[in-house]
Symmetry: C2
Subunit: 331 residues, 2 copies
C-alpha cells in the first residue's frame, strides 16, 4: 500500500461530494464516479456539483471524473463508496472487473436491502474483499458543514489500523479532525441505526412533543443502540464516543437531517408515500428501519424505538397511538 494511494469516490450525492472536497485538500488527484454524465459535464464547466453542496468549489484539474464505474474501479487503490445503500447493488452489478484486492471504504449509512448486510459485510461476503481491507468513514458530520468548512470530526475504522491511519491522513485538514477505530461493525451499525432514531425524533416533533421529550428519546436511543450493537458484535466500545453518540446527536438534533425531516412529515400526518415524494433526497432511515427490525428478529435486543418506527412506516400504524405507547416504555 503506497503512502500516496490513488483514491476513487463513488457517488454523486452530498456526502460523496463532501468526501471528494476533503480529499482534494490533500491529494493531487481524486477519482470521482457519478452515474450522471450531465452532472460531470456541469462540474467540469462550473467547478461545482449542480445538485448537492453547490457551494463547494473544486479545482477541476484535480478531479478524475467518469460515469464509467469500471474505469474508476480500475483507477483506484482505495475505493470509497458513498452511494445510498438502496442503490448500491444496482451500481455494483455494473462492475465487470475484479476488485477483490482493492481496499474498500464504506461511507454509506445503511444496510444493503438485497443482502440485509451492512456495507462492509456485503463487500466481504459477496465480493471476497478480505476483512482487513475494509474500512468505514463515519461522522458526526453533515456534508453541508463540510462545504462551509466548519470544524468537523470523523472516525475512520478498519481492523487494519494502518489503513485507518492512511485514510485519516488523506481526509484531515484544518477543518477536519479524524480519529481511528477498529470497530468496523459497530460504527457501521451505529451509522445506520442513528437514522432510524432521527426519524423517531422527527415523528415526535411532528406530533408536537417538545424538547424535554426529545432529550428522553435520545437518551433512550443511545441505550437502545448500545444493546442492539452488542448483540450484533460484542466488543469493548464506548458508546458515548463521537462515532456513536455524536453521530446520533448530529442527526437527531440537526435541521440538516433529511431523516428527521422525513419523520417530521410523518408525524404531521403525511403518508409515507407522500412524505417521500415531497423530499428530493433519500431518507436512508426509511430502509434502515426495515433492515434493522428484521435483523433484530433473531437477536432479540429490546428495541422499542426501532419497533415503533417500523410499525409506523411499514405496518401503517397510527403515529400518534404508537408514540403514546412508546412513551410508556421510555424512562
Amino acid at each position: 500500500m503506497s503512502e500516496n494511494p490513488k483514491i476513487a469516490v463513488f457517488g454523486g450525492g452530498s456526502w460523496a461530494t463532501a468526501i471528494v472536497k476533503m480529499l482534494c485538500e490533500n491529494l493531487e488527484q481524486v477519482g470521482w464516479y457519478m452515474r450522471n454524465q450531465t452532472s460531470i459535464d456541469y462540474i467540469k464547466e462550473n467547478q461545482h456539483n449542480p445538485n448537492y453542496l453547490s457551494s463547494a468549489e473544486f479545482d477541476v484539474a484535480k478531479l478524475h471524473l467518469s460515469s464509467d464505474i469500471n474505469e474508476l474501479v480500475e483507477y483506484g487503490d482505495i475505493l470509497i463508496f458513498a452511494i445510498p445503500s438502496a442503490f448500491l447493488k444496482e451500481e455494483l452489478d455494473k462492475i465487470s472487473v475484479d476488485f477483490s484486492s482493492k481496499i474498500i471504504f464504506s461511507a454509506i449509512k445503511g444496510i444493503v436491502p438485497e443482502s440485509g448486510l451492512i456495507v462492509g459485510e456485503h463487500f466481504h461476503l459477496n465480493y471476497k474483499v478480505p476483512i482487513e481491507n475494509i474500512g468505514v468513514i463515519t461522522g458526526p458530520c453533515h456534508a453541508e458543514e463540510v462545504a462551509m468548512e466548519r470544524l468537523s470530526y470523523l472516525t475512520i475504522a478498519s481492523q487494519d489500523i494502518k489503513k485507518a491511519r492512511l485514510m485519516s491522513k488523506c481526509l484531515s485538514s484544518n477543518y477536519i479532525k479524524t480519529k481511528t477505530s477498529d470497530d468496523i461493525i459497530g460504527t457501521e451499525y451505529a451509522a445506520m441505526l442513528k437514522n432510524i432514531y432521527a426519524i423517531a425524533a422527527g415523528i415526535a416533533h411532528g406530533l408536537g412533543y417538545g424538547d424535554n421529550f426529545q432529550s428522553v428519546l435520545m437518551s433512550n436511543s443511545i441505550r437502545e443502540m448500545k444493546r442492539y450493537i452488542k448483540k450484533v458484535h460484542k466488543m469493548k466500545r464506548n458508546i458515548n464516543n463521537s462515532a456513536y453518540l455524536g453521530d446520533l446527536l448530529v442527526t437527531g438534533y440537526s435541521v440538516f437531517s433529511r431523516n428527521r425531516m422525513f419523520g417530521n412529515m410523518i408525524g404531521k400526518g403525511y403518508t409515507v408515500k407522500s412524505a417521500m415524494m415531497e423530499m428530493s433526497m433519500v431518507a436512508e432511515g426509511y430502509y434502515a428501519a426495515k433492515s434493522a427490525y428484521l435483523i433484530n428478529e433473531k437477536n432479540n435486543a429490546k428495541t422499542p424505538i426501532i419497533d415503533a418506527v417500523y410499525d409506523i412506516l411499514y405496518q401503517n400504524k397510527n403515529p400518534k397511538q404508537i408514540f403514546q405507547k412508546l412513551t410508556e416504555l421510555l424512562d
Copy 2:
C-alpha cells in the same frame, strides 16, 4: 411519613413555579414560599406568577402562599427547595425554626457557593438533616414545557426509595412521568455540571462552530461528566439515563436554556459582566463553573471542557483562543 404529606415549595422562579403546578395536579394544598410579597399578591389576584411561566394558571384556593419562610418551613413535612444556589444561603439564614427532622428535596441545579457543597450535602452537613431524609428532583425538564403541559420525564432520587416513590406519586400526571433513583449525589452533580456544558455549547455557537462540532462537544461532555462524577461518588450508574445524558441534552440543545444563551453571548464577544446584565435570569452554570473547577482541583478528573469555560469566565481568557485549544483535546 403520611401518604398525604404537606409539601412546601421554596422559590419564586420558573422551576419553582413548574413544581407547584405539578403538585397542584395531585394535592389538595401546596405550600409556596416566595420572598416577594408583591408577586404573592399578584398571584392571588391573577392566578398566575407575574414573572415566570405566566401561562401556568393556578387554582389559588389550593395555594398556601407566604413570604414568611418560617411559616412554610413549619407548614411542610416535605420541603422542596428551588431557589438558585447563589441565593440559597441568604434564604436559609432567615430560618429560625429547627427543620432537621423535615424531609428535604433539592430541585436546585448548582453548588452552594459559600460551602462548595451540592445542596443535599449542604443540608446534611450544615443543618443536620439525615441523609435518608434528603432527595433530589431532576430533569430533563424545562419549566417552560411543564407550563405547556408537554410530556416530560423527571427523576426523583433518594437513598430511601420510599421517599422517592412518594415524591414521584405527588409529581406524576398525564404530562409528567417519573423514575426513581438512589443516586442523590450523582444526579445532583449531573444537574450542576450540565449547565457548564450548556455554557460551552453556547460559546461554541457564538463563535460560529456548527452542528457537527456541537455533537462532538456533547459526546465529550457526557464522557467528561462520567469521569467527574465517578471521582466524586463512585457507584454503579448508567450515565446515559435521562437524569444525566437527557438532562445534558435538553440544556445543551434547547433554545429555552439560559445557560446556553449566556454562553452564546460570551462567544459573540460580550464580556461576562455585560452578558449577565443583558439577561434577566441567573445562569446557574456561571457559578457552577467555578465550584466545579475548584472541587476538581483535588479530584483531578480530566475535564478540558470545564477548564475551558472556567478560563473564559473567571480568568478573562479569550474565548476564541481557548476553544481553538479545546478542539485539539476533543475527539
